[in-house]
């Protein structure tokens, strides 16, 4: 079993010129690496530990140290260890070596860094814009500390360079960014032969709101409220990730009761989303019956949420240092009875739906995402688990009170809409079990630990398995209890490109169904 000591010892022994190798319990090894040695370190971690960068980000640290900071967070295969590599980019040579040809996900983080910081990845094969659309001024990089917005934005009509597929009988269908239903904006460009999709390219970031920049104007306490609003359906997960990062910066351990309550809140969020998604997948097959009941059950869950914390989407329940709302005895009983009723009804609806051959016919084999593609794209969360990847941060990198609760991770191998739906069904059950176990074991005591001002310049990340997948928040503390950098990675960021592969060779009318089975967040991706 690979642990912190082993990784740290082996990193000491390499000839990669690493400095400042520090172990940070419970699961981090930090190293500083020279800019030009980044690919060598990445290759070493990949070959030796099966490591892959799950998050790459830049910080504008020119005022503190006269150069930019790059962070690479490597997750090591099958180990509860993250290697956080730090490299510096001088102000007068704003380039860094690219990992794009090694990991696709890295290539997207690097495009993001180019757009937002103006740091250029060298030897990157695809430097098209990512978060910023074509009309943003070329020299304006909004996350630079000294960036000032241009007086006015002029859209000169330059189109985004989509990949064109040519050939006899092939035509393009453009969909969005405005859709017929009440959903978020995203542009999809299909190249189809008849009804069969042979290429799909999506252009997102229509709701790029500058959330990361907004964090920098906030105190950690206020930041939680913004974190809750990153993606409406993952309020709790994002808030917990942010709180964990802040708590780790402050060196605070939250009280045990708060840790258990966080589990309850996270699983409540998981249940209502999984039930809603189950219904939505059914309605996209035309089986509206299941959806009508799923919506009813979701509503019961939302009302339960409102009774517990005063907000249907569980906002306002979390603060750095613990939780804000305690559960009384009667509320605990309310959770148990409501959940038991909802889960029993949900089972019945699921039974009706999955015993209907016309529904099954639509689900099986549709939108097949192979395990190979899922691994190559570093897909996260339930989409990964539906494609045979047995990974779940609740079990692999336990946080809150998950370490004390047994987390069963359902894994399906078929990678189709059916698998993604059934992962949801199983996880809804597992969430019910976890809540029951957490309430059984709920310790007495306080629910909030006071947090002093954060040490300026300190940085750490919080990792949470939300209902959609793993969420990273990288938080850097600034002077006077401010935040100098917050980087958010929603699982949607990794999963959106995988949709383009899952849909290949499917027919156009099946796209909404496949898309719904992924159910990715536009807001969480666009930030």
């Amino acid at each position: 079993m690979i642990d912190l000591n082993i990784v740290s010892r082996q990193l000491h022994a390499t000839a990669l010129g690493l400095t400042d190798i520090v172990m940070r319990a419970p699961r981090q090894v930090r190293v500083t690496v020279k800019r030009e040695m980044i690919p060598a370190l990445a290759d070493y971690l990949r070959d030796r530990f099966g490591g892959r960068p799950e998050l790459i980000l830049a910080e504008d640290t020119r005022t503190q140290r006269g150069e930019f900071t790059l962070r690479y967070i490597f997750e090591l295969e099958g180990a509860d260890v993250f290697v956080v590599a730090t490299a510096f980019v001088p102000e007068d040579d704003r380039t860094f070596p690219s990992l794009a040809t090694r990991w696709y996900l890295a290539s997207r983080f690097e495009r993001e860094i180019l757009d937002l910081f103006g740091l250029r990845p060298v030897d990157h094969p695809d430097l098209r814009r990512l978060p910023l659309h074509q009309f943003w001024p070329a020299e304006y990089h909004p996350l630079l500390k000294d960036a000032s917005p241009p007086d006015k934005f002029v859209d000169d009509g330059t189109p985004y360079p989509f990949r064109h597929v040519e050939g006899e009988g092939i035509h393009e269908i453009t969909v969005g960014p405005v859709h017929a239903g009440i959903i978020e904006p995203g542009h999809f460009r299909f190249s189809v032969e008849g009804e069969t999709i042979i290429n799909l390219e999506s252009r997102l970031y229509f709701v790029h709101k500058g959330i990361e920049r907004l964090f920098e104007t906030m105190t950690p306490a206020a930041g939680v409220e913004l974190a809750e609003r990153i993606s409406g359906d993952s309020s709790v997960a994002h808030a917990v990730a942010f709180c964990q990062a802040v708590e780790s910066l402050a060196g605070v351990t939250i009280p045990p009761r708060a840790a258990y309550l966080r589990v309850v809140l996270l699983e409540l969020e998981r249940i209502y989303n999984h039930i809603a998604d189950f219904g939505a997948i059914c309605t996209d097959t035309g089986f509206a019956f299941a959806n009508a009941h799923a919506m009813r059950l979701r509503e019961e869950m939302l009302r339960l949420n409102a009774r517990l914390v005063g907000h249907r989407l569980l906002r306002g329940a979390l603060v750095p240092g613990g939780v804000r709302c305690d559960l009384s005895q009667s509320q605990v009983r309310d959770v148990r009875t409501t959940l038991a009723r909802v889960i029993a009804d949900f089972d019945e609806v699921v039974d009706i739906a999955i015993n209907n051959s016309s529904v099954l016919d639509r689900l099986h084999g549709t939108g097949h995402l192979t395990e190979k593609t899922a691994r190559d794209m570093q897909v996260a969360g339930l989409v990964a688990r539906a494609s045979g990847i047995d990974a779940d941060a609740r079990r692999d990198h336990p946080f809150a009170a998950y370490g004390h609760l047994q987390v069963n991770v359902p894994v399906f191998n078929s990678g189709d809409v059916w698998a993604r739906m059934m992962v949801r069904v199983e996880e809804a059950h597992e969430a019910f079990n976890l809540i029951t176990r957490a309430l059984d074991a709920l310790p007495e005591g306080k629910i909030l630990e006071a947090i002093e001002a954060l040490p300026a310049g300190a940085s750490d990340f919080g990792l949470v398995e939300g209902w959609r997948g793993s969420i990273f928040h990288w938080v850097v503390a600034g002077e006077d209890n401010s935040l100098s950098r917050v980087k958010v990675k929603d699982p949607s960021f990794a999963n959106w490109p995988a949709l383009n592969y899952a849909i290949l060779k499917n027919i156009v009318p099946d796209f909404p169904l496949v898309n719904k089975s992924f159910n990715l967040s536009y807001a969480g991706n666009d930030l």
Binding site: V175, G286, A288, F289, H293, V359, P509, D510, L513
Partner: protein, 314 residues
């Protein structure tokens, strides 16, 4: 003569006025079956009123076809309602229109809708039109053959004649050819009127639409006309199904009492078929698009068997 003009006017009014009610009833029943309260059965009337007062937005790139189609489609449905034996077998215009004329009248509307879908040049319209044409091409032969199965027995393609002879035949339902033709015609009616499992009238997903994709560009009074016509089409198909296959209660004279009975019988039969549609739509999912030809060829086979059975089972 006045009586027959009157009966025509009544038929026209029934189709024109009851079509939204039929659509509303199917929706209401579906909602109840799903455990929802659902909108009032009169909601389609309100929708039509709303659409009629709203501005019609027309793309600059469209031709006259786009503006002409809603009126054509609605007129075709009204005209068809004069040909279909609804209350009596003595439809005055019956002699001009037999089953073949009726089917091609309906096809004319489909054809122009498909043209209009292409006219605006949007991706969805084109997609909808191409899908609609696939389905129409597969459905038309089935309609014809299913009707021929009955026409053969009667020896006439006149709708009036088929209904009259059917009403005389008390053992009608025990005829296997008749039942086969009914099932075939029912499946085709679902396809033609854009119901599940072929098309989903309740979807908001542009990429899965067929009928809705063709009319995506329409707004205001044009949309109102098309929605109204779609309701009338459903009403006509359900009427045909009721009266061709279960011709009980259809008046054979123009006396007030039989006509009143026929009206009640029609309401009952169409209501029962509408309930069947609602139950079906609640209990099945939409077919994958490329499974639709399989369904329609299945229905074609049934229709063919119905014809063949005529030669073996008298």
């Amino acid at each position: 003569m006045t009586a027959s003009i009157l009966i025509e006017a009544i038929q026209l009014l029934i189709v024109a006025l009851a079509a939204p009610l039929l659509v509303g009833s199917v929706r209401k029943l579906k909602a109840r079956l799903q455990g929802r309260r659902g909108a009032s059965v009169f909601q389609p009337y309100r929708d039509l009123r709303k659409l009629l007062v709203k501005e019609a937005v027309i793309s600059e790139n469209t031709s006259w076809i786009f503006r002409f189609t809603p009126y054509l489609v609605a007129s075709v449905m009204l005209l068809s309602s004069l040909v279909v034996p609804m209350l009596t077998t003595r439809t005055p215009l019956g002699f001009t229109g037999n089953i073949i004329v009726l089917m091609y009248l309906l096809l004319l509307a489909t054809f122009f809708l498909a043209l209009a879908g292409l006219d605006a040049g949007s991706a969805f319209g084109g997609m909808g039109s191409s899908r609609e044409m696939i389905i129409a091409a597969l459905a038309e032969p089935t309609v014809m053959i299913a009707i021929f199965a009955i026409a053969l027995r009667v020896g006439s393609t006149s709708l009036d004649e088929i209904v009259r002879r059917g009403a005389d035949d008390s053992l009608l339902l025990l005829n296997p050819g008749h039942l086969l033709a009914f099932v075939a015609f029912f499946i085709v009616a679902l396809a033609e009127t854009g119901r599940l499992p072929v098309d989903n009238p309740a979807t908001h997903l542009e990429l899965t639409m067929i009928h809705e994709a063709m009319i995506l560009e329409y707004s205001g009074r044009h949309l109102a006309l098309i929605e109204w016509a779609a309701g009338m089409k459903l009403f006509l198909f359900l009427t045909l199904l009721s009266n061709l296959f279960f011709p009980w209660g259809v008046a054979r004279t123009l006396e007030p009492l039989p006509v009143a009975i026929a009206f009640a019988a029609l309401a009952l039969k169409v209501g029962a078929l509408a309930a069947a549609v609602a139950i079906l739509e609640t209990s099945i999912a939409k077919l994958r698009l490329f499974r639709v030809p399989e369904l329609l060829s299945g229905s074609f086979t049934l229709a063919l068997l119905a014809v063949i059975s005529f030669f073996f089972v008298r």
